[in-house]
């Protein structure tokens, strides 16, 4: 297994764009287990997660030529493709009706009662900025991003009203943007 830092994701994507299947396979060998981990957390079903990884790799292959290094890192781009493939699949299964944004009427409830998730990984600057959020905002953002939770699922997990969760996410994202830049 190549070291994650030494692996040249950008070169692999460029080779994919040139039609080199071996490059896609190298990406798969390098990142497959991390990408499957990300997909599994979102869709919460092993077979479905493998379907997502399958579709995502076809997307990576066909869209590699559209990868633009000036818009972001190659490794991030690959994860983006997998996450959005997973999210689209999950949302298509859920057919959830979105309740709309009626944030203004809603106040923060229970914010201090919420227990935020903890983790071991080093998230760099993002971690510092998440650390400055209330537990409720941090939990809402992590559950949405990592676990693919809808607003209602987060509300259920945090035992908080739906409107509060929406408000926490909106304010949490605004604070993160302010903090990270």
């Amino acid at each position: 297994m190549t070291d994650a830092l030494a692996f040249d994701h950008e070169a692999a994507l460029l080779a994919c764009a040139a039609g080199e299947r071996g490059a896609l396979q190298r990406l798969y060998q390098q990142e497959g287990r991390y990408l499957l981990g990300v997909a599994l957390r979102i869709v919460r079903d092993r077979a479905l997660a493998e379907d997502v990884l399958h579709d995502a790799f076809l997307n990576i292959w066909t869209r590699a030529a559209s990868f633009d290094p000036s818009r972001g890192a190659a490794r991030g781009w690959i994860f983006t493709v997998v996450r959005h493939t997973a999210l689209n699949r999950l949302r298509a299964l859920q057919h959830e009706v979105n309740a709309g944004d009626d944030l203004e009427e809603l106040a923060d409830h229970h914010e201090s009662a919420v227990q935020a998730p903890e983790w071991q990984a080093d998230l760099g600057r993002l971690e510092d900025c998440l650390g400055q959020l209330s537990d409720a905002k941090r939990a809402s953002i992590v559950y949405a991003y990592v676990d693919g939770c809808t607003h209602s699922e987060i509300a259920e997990r945090l035992k908080a009203p739906l409107g509060s969760v929406k408000a926490w996410i909106k304010r949490g994202l605004a604070a993160l943007r302010e903090c990270i830049g």
Partner: protein, 235 residues
């Protein structure tokens, strides 16, 4: 779009976070190619939140998943994107893989020479045609100096509808490859060499994917699916 900067940021943030419903997600995805401001906002959110992907524990894919992905990949189309067939033919890439493919070729040759029965006295050549990307052997060419060659498939191949496989060869000093006609996927067939000069060692052979009636230009226009060089067989 009449959205304020904050509204655009909010929409992009929700899209990346994953909290939008499917219809809203699809609406964002439709707008992305046309709206640089939205795209920039989404890119920035992707970069900000990407470290959170480290919170998902790694999960080893099933052993067969890569093969499943590989089977689903569309036909390779590298050649046109790399500036045309001729450049590719003479490019560094070609030489790199053809050297790497030599091992596969020699192993197969050792097996196939046992089966080949060239007419006595005539020099005999063999070619293993391999896929440019992964060097997987797809066809074997046998000649016996009789003005014909046998093209033998090593597997079952499917090609898109309204497409055809076209067989080409090019000698060392030829200015362009010459068509040997259309060939049927997955079937052993004889190909007449008729007006061509005698085969030479290292002569190139390839199969490209062309329109159903063959290349409209008389030169390869589609992607190279299989390619290889003639090797003289001494018996």
């Amino acid at each position: 779009m009449n959205e304020s900067h904050d509204e655009l940021q909010w929409l992009a943030g929700q899209y990346v976070l994953g909290t939008l419903a499917l219809a809203q997600r699809q609406a964002v995805e439709r707008r992305l190619p046309q709206e640089p401001a939205l795209r920039a906002a989404v890119d920035a959110w992707e970069a900000r939140l990407h470290p959170l992907t480290a919170l998902a524990p790694p999960e080893q894919p099933s052993p067969g998943l890569w093969q499943r992905i590989e089977r689903s990949l569309p036909m390779p189309a590298p050649v046109r994107r790399q500036g045309g067939w001729r450049q590719w033919w003479e490019s560094v890439n070609f030489w790199r893989w053809s050297t790497a493919g030599a091992l596969t070729c020699s192993v197969l040759l050792a097996l196939l020479v046992l089966r080949a029965e060239p007419p006595a006295g005539a020099p005999s050549y063999m070619v293993v045609l391999v896929a440019p990307q992964d060097k997987a052997p797809g066809w074997v060419v046998q000649t016996g100096g009789s003005g014909r060659l046998n093209l033998i498939p090593l597997g079952v191949a499917t090609i898109p509808q309204e497409k055809a496989l076209q067989f080409w060869t090019k000698g060392a000093n030829w200015s362009a490859p010459v068509s040997l006609g259309l060939v049927q996927p997955g079937r052993t067939q004889q190909v007449a060499l008729e007006k061509l000069p005698p085969l030479q060692a290292d002569q190139l052979f390839e199969i490209t994917l062309e329109p159903g009636t063959g290349s409209p230009t008389g030169r390869p226009t589609g992607p190279i699916l299989y390619i290889g060089r003639a090797v003289k067989v001494t018996s």
